[in-house]
Amino acid sequence: MALRTCTLLAMAVGASALAAAPAMAQTAPGVTDTEIKIGNINPYSGPASAYGVIGKTIGAYFAKINAEGGVNGRKINYISYDDGYSPPKAVEQARKLVESDEVAIVFQPLGTPSNSAIQKYMNSKQVPQLFVATGATKWNDPKNFPWTMGWQPNYQTEGKIYGKYIADNLPNGKVGVIFQNDDYGKDLLKGLKDGLGAKAASMIIAEVPYEVSVPTIDSQIVQLKGSGADILVTIATPKFAAQVIRKVAELGWKPTHFLNNVAISVGAVIKPAGPENAKDILSTAYLKDATDPADKESPAFKEWEAFMDKYYPDGNKLDGSTVFGYAAAQTMVQVLKQAGKDLSRANIMKEAANLKNFEIGVLVDGIKVNTSPSDFAPIEQLQMQKFDGERWHRFGPVMSGESS
């Protein structure tokens, strides 16, 4: 009696699970005549939840596209899950998107650890892991990971641009570098050396690493000043960058100071360090700036503002992440337009690797999105900018990090 109940129970579980499994007959997974399913993973909770704005902006932009009739007659069904910036959760959510929701692609999953965790899985399943939201250089590896592609300028590209700028404009300089001793810091440092080219060994006279776990990096700055460097390249995250700027001023040291793009926030870095101390610091930009009066008047930004008012009214317009998500979502829509009727995963990937001089209004003028089957780094250009004591001013030509 008890055993029969037991067998029945097991059979019931089996039957219900089978019934739940959807039909697998369609040729292009996640695509019907009227819609395409696009998955996304963002940290809506946890330590990096500030970035969750990106996932929400993307959703708002797809809502706008749908309201305007979709892409080639298909609406975008955007499914975004929270991974709390935790790699195991990212794996779970990626599998849910691919195996349960059966999305066509996973677009803009955020964070280097989360993307590292799902990269092998996505490639073994041959599902596009498209335009990931992280600056690591390793996403540009079409040979080993043909289903993974980056989007924003990667750290090596940025480093190369500082290197090139120094080699061209300050050829007799003595370079001191402070860098965060991890993936990102080493990535950017490698780019810097590549950009300096043959002169790297002679021009860089001091390289000083710091650990994320240390409370201050004052002694490293003293050490760099003592080395006799007259150019300082700061490869640091916001908190440490602010410390560098303040300590350099305290020491009365006046090097030509290059600051990496992750630490250019006026609110989080420059203000705590003292804007007067940050005068004449050089950096790079690829997105237009919502606080810049000239950018604000550009037609692209007017469009962006109208979009924000209508589709994401509670979003913060001063948060650069809303501009970022807006631009990334436009890239995705462009790929879908190019793919036309054939929305198979392979064709989407093929078209993602076939972007030619695609322009996005909120990117700095002159920066174009370009990819090819051997180049999985969509944005590879940046423009130099200088801090005038109040805000950043872009200057000079748009520079490319591509090896020429």
Partner: protein, 344 residues
């Protein structure tokens, strides 16, 4: 909750749900065995009918369940608190990952290695820490949980730990050419390991040692008067608890195929604690329910509202605590009690 009540409800639930160990007597024992066997049968059939990612989720539920079981041995039976079990989970995960990637050890052998490493770490940490009162011990273990991710990022260890990058692991195939997918095999493997660990825990708790462990929780002074070496037993319990959590960590590394420092933060330690309380403090099968809670409830909360997922999670938690103040174990016990009384 009072001590007597605890023991009483343990005994009753023993009879109902986990008599497979031979505890309990007569009629309740055979009924318990049938229920356990039924649940096991369903558990074995599940991976063959569910989708791959569901199998993965269920495997993770069991992994978290094993970790919570470790915490339960410490808190539920020995009365000590730990906010640092994410650290032992991380030690287990990294031991497994490093052994597999740097030394080519088979994943099967990484489990005992991970468990032993965590045991040693737990034992050594326990030596000084367990002289502390519960609330101070909680703080000491809290420090451990906060420190662990940073240790894993340190440069001197980077050669092995991969620094912030972490380590990517290859998923093992089913052995002997069994016609199972990797997910199915790992599910069954975890089920086997988990069930074995569960039986071991039951037997420890039911033994003379287990009674000593519980006596320390109930009344340390009386326990000492009966000749129990308090610090030795407390430290050993801490070690065993770390062993379980370490094995769970190793399993999670193999199942997720990736370890990185940011996977093992304080949030995970708190999740274990929440899972244990939800499942029922001092009731081992409840650990599995706790594992299910920490895996599925955040997903449910997110499904209700993305912007307010934290608040929804909090409301669900409050509701459960309101309905089942002593965890799901306590609720089951009360229900069983109610029907038993009605039958009379």
């Amino acid at each position: 909750m009072s001590v007597n009540e605890d023991i009483k409800y343990d005994a009753k639930l023993d009879g109902i749900l986990d008599a497979a160990t031979g505890a309990g007597t007569g009629k309740s024992r055979s009924l318990g065995s049938v229920v356990t066997l039924c649940l096991l049968a369903v558990a074995v059939v599940l991976p063959f009918v569910a989708q791959g990612f569901v199998v993965f989720q269920l495997t993770m539920v069991m992994v978290y369940g094993i970790a919570i079981m470790g915490l339960n041995i410490l808190t539920g039976f020995n009365g000590q608190f730990s906010l640092g079990h994410s650290a032992f989970f991380a030690i287990g995960a990294y031991t497994a990952a490093i052994l597999m990637e740097s030394f080519g050890v088979s994943y099967v052998w990484t489990l005992p290695a991970a468990g032993l490493t965590a045991f040693v770490a737990g034992f050594l940490f326990g030596l000084p820490a367990l002289r502390l009162e519960p609330i101070y011990l909680a703080l000491a273990t809290f420090a451990l949980a906060v420190a662990m991710p940073q240790f894993l990022k340190l440069t001197p260890f980077e050669h092995w730990t991969g620094g912030v990058q972490g380590i990517v692991i290859l998923k093992p195939d089913a052995p002997f050419g069994l016609p199972l997918s990797q997910d199915q095999w790992l599910y069954l493997f975890t089920l086997g390991v988990g069930f074995g660990l569960y039986l071991a825990a039951r037997n420890i708790i039911a033994s003379r040692t287990g009674r000593a462990i519980q006596a320390i929780r109930d009344n340390p002074i009386a326990a000492r008067a009966m000749g129990i070496n308090l610090s030795l037993y407390k430290t050993l319990t801490f070690g065993v608890s770390a062993f379980y959590t370490g094995v769970a960590g190793a399993l999670s590394a193999i199942v997720v195929q990736f370890v990185a420092p940011d996977s093992y933060t304080l949030v995970l330690a708190v999740a274990f604690l929440v899972g244990m309380v939800i499942g029922g403090v001092g009731w081992l099968p409840g650990s599995l329910i706790g594992g299910a809670f920490i895996l599925f409830v955040p997903n449910i909360a997110e499904g209700v509202s993305k912007g307010l997922s934290g608040a929804v999670y909090g409301i669900i938690l409050l509701l459960i605590i309101y309905i089942a103040p002593s965890g799901v174990g306590g609720l089951l016990h009360k229900t069983a009690d109610y029907f038993a009384r009605r039958r009379k």
